[in-house]
Amino acid sequence: MQKFLRSSAVGLTLLLVLAACQGNNAPGGGSTSGSGAGGGSKGTVKIGVDLPLSGNEVANGQPTFNGIKLAVDEANKNGGAGGYKIEINKQDDAVNGVHNPDQGATNAKTLVADPAVVGMVGPFNSNVARSIIPVTNEAGLAECSPSNTAVDLTKTGSDKLRPQNPDKRNYFRLAAPDDIQGPAMAAFDYNDLGKKNAYILDDTEAFGKGVADEFQKAFVKLGGKVAKRDGQKYSASVDYTSLFNSVKSLNPDVVYFGGTQVTGGGLARKQMVQAGMGAIPFTGPDGIADLGTGGSQGAFITLAGVDNSHDVYGTVAGVHDLPSGSDFSSRYKAAFQNDPGAYSAIAYACTQVLLKAISDSAASASDMKSLREAVRAYVFDASKTYDTALGKISFTSTGDIKQAFISFYKVDPSLNGGKGGWTFVKQQAFEGGQ
């Protein structure tokens, strides 16, 4: 006991010393100042970015990051935003090549501690968002995810992620959540493709299982039957053959894969065809509809093989008919010598929203701290609209996009000189928010 008391005394002294250090040092840390040599005249503000940028997940993270970089570079060429030059503070949440919630939270803390960071784009994965939002919420940093679709991030249950400031939302997103995307494909499978008996397979991860659950609910509600539901955790040496062998005799007429091409989507289709079930359509969420050309690194069609990619349908949680669509991809191509990824345009739009908020609030904010708060408040002013690469958009009070569109795509193996590519089928508008 005595020892405990002594330790506590030690702790208390420490606390005091540290508090003193903190006080002296609070605003100093980051590189806030800038002479305005670049685009802006008032100095530099930063957009924080957290994405998986190493290992296997580069395939997702890098094209998304490029979208952000393109928006920032273009803004700087046109004089920055609100008189500020824009920089990027980039953080990687992959540990050992896999997105990691713990590293995500550490990165978010790094970002919020940089006083020049007034807005953030990311993360890529819903599970990482669950550890990041409490951090950014506490700091009042506006955060835009281009790709998170888990329902509880903005809707029911999202207050758990904001223990410190439950009434001060800061997280918004541009992808339509699972409870829109899953049912959209269910309706498409049931009505448009006329399929009644689905085999549902998920990757046991937060995104894949979440969207597959929503698909299943909606498909059953429509009157469809679920032949079998399986979950197969992705590992680099995973094998799907036995899964498909086991459902063959149950005669499913459609397959729904909840997951992404990184967590096995392409491989699952390949092995499905090899198990002799190639005639059955393979459908999935935006995780598989990466819109990548066959042959490009890590794309669904590359992984499945173009010969196996017939009858593959995917949803994209965004609008197809981009007003600036072809324009965006040509600028992207010019900048990065590569086709945009599925989330490049959305990440670009995320950045556009933040940049607009920065330039409109810059005048009223006296310092970085008030600018950060002004940007957050601006984004959650439901009356604001934004002209983005995705068209005119606005947000609900919960931070979901009002113009929620689901676009349906199909693989056309004959595209791109036989390398395969995704073609647009149709798009559908949904009431955003609730």
């Binding site: 290992g55 197969q232 590992s235 680099a236 992984l303 093989g305």
Partner: protein, 344 residues
């Protein structure tokens, strides 16, 4: 010698039949409502995919068990050696201009033989080099030192492949068309599955003959038993250990090639995962025992497929490791391991 091989063949044949029946039984458990012919067809199809996966695990497990047998090192880099094998085969085939199925049978056989030969030699050399530079200097260090080195080598191999080739999965050429199939009891099985099984069995038998019947094999066995005594008898310890690594890695290379043909999809981090399963297989069979490793490999493949068949796909990994724990609790030296005490 002949008697031993005959006995082994008999046991193997028995195991093959029993596991087939077992798989059909498990399929029936998983899908009770179906007709009998459906159950037999599904069970047979599952049986062949278990054999294929098991053959790959078994080939990798052999390397683990050989290295462990001779220097008592859990070579965590071995899984990544297997991965490098898959990529070497990929590079050979694509650089020769073969991206897909080869229609001409003689050409196919020629290319496959060439692929096996080159991959196995390259990987053998790689394995021996790893031993020479990463493990040999540590032969007298604390037991955990080479283990950590092995983890380090594993990271290095993964990252070199990642940087040099790709950080996302790469489609590997499936030279043997999957359209070649045979039908058995209503199940349509790719001929490739059978081929993989046969290749694995041939390699395993070759290994048994080599270890059991050649001078070098005798040197390996004696080194494993008592290194000092072997040395006194004139066995070149360093060379023997290097050869063990060469053979183990060559087998992993062959497994890598087979894996590429079967999966058509390889990625830089596939080795750690597959290696973990293969290591489990080696322990399950009784580490240090080559027949046990093969048996363990097939057992793991069987459990994985059985998990899916009975509708427990989400619990697949947990099942594999639960079986492992149970086997070890009740039979602490593995299925075929000798029940010997601690070597002090």
């Amino acid at each position: 010698m002949t008697f031993r091989i005959l006995r082994l063949a008999l046991i193997a044949a028995g195991a093959l039949v029993i596991s087939w029946l077992l798989m059909i039984g498990l399929t029936w458990l998983g899908t009770r409502s179906e007709s009998f012919s459906n159950v037999v067809a599904t069970g047979t199809a599952q049986y062949f995919s278990a054999l294929t996966i098991g053959a790959i695990y078994a080939l990798i497990a052999l390397g683990y068990t050989m290295v462990y047998g001779i220097i008592e090192l859990i070579n965590f880099a071995h899984g990544d050696v297997f991965m490098v094998g898959a990529f070497v085969a990929y590079l050979i085939f694509t650089s020769l201009g073969f991206g897909g199925a080869i229609k001409s049978i003689p050409l196919l056989i020629g290319i496959l033989l060439l692929g096996f030969l080159v991959t196995m030699v390259v990987l053998g050399v790689l394995g021996a080099a790893i031993e020479r530079f990463a493990y040999r200097p540590l032969r007298n260090a604390p037991r955990l030192a080479p283990l950590i080195t092995a983890i380090g080598v594993s990271f290095i191999l993964q990252n070199v492949v990642q940087v040099l080739i790709s950080n996302s999965p790469v489609p590997s050429p499936q030279l043997v068309s999957l359209e070649y199939r045979f039908t058995l009891l209503g199940a349509s099985v790719p001929l490739l599955n059978l081929l993989i099984f046969l290749v694995a069995v041939v390699l395993m038998i070759a290994l048994q003959v080599f270890v059991g019947g050649t001078r070098l094999g005798r040197a390996m066995r004696s080194t494993a038993q008592d290194r000092e005594a072997a040395q006194l008898m004139g066995v070149n310890i360093n060379a023997t250990i290097a050869i063990t690594f060469f053979i183990g890695s060559a087998l992993a290379g062959a497994a890598g090639l087979i894996y590429g043909l079967y999966k058509g999809n390889i990625v830089f981090n596939l080795g750690f995962d597959a290696g973990l399963k293969a290591f489990t297989a080696a322990v399950l069979g009784g580490i240090g025992n080559t027949v046990g490793a093969a048996l363990g490999g097939f057992a793991i493949g069987f459990i994985e497929v059985a998990a899916v068949t009975t509708g427990l796909s989400r619990w697949q990994e947990a099942l594999v490791f639960s079986v492992l724990i149970l086997v070890l609790v009740f039979r602490p030296a593995g299925i075929l391991g000798q029940q010997i005490g601690e070597r002090a």
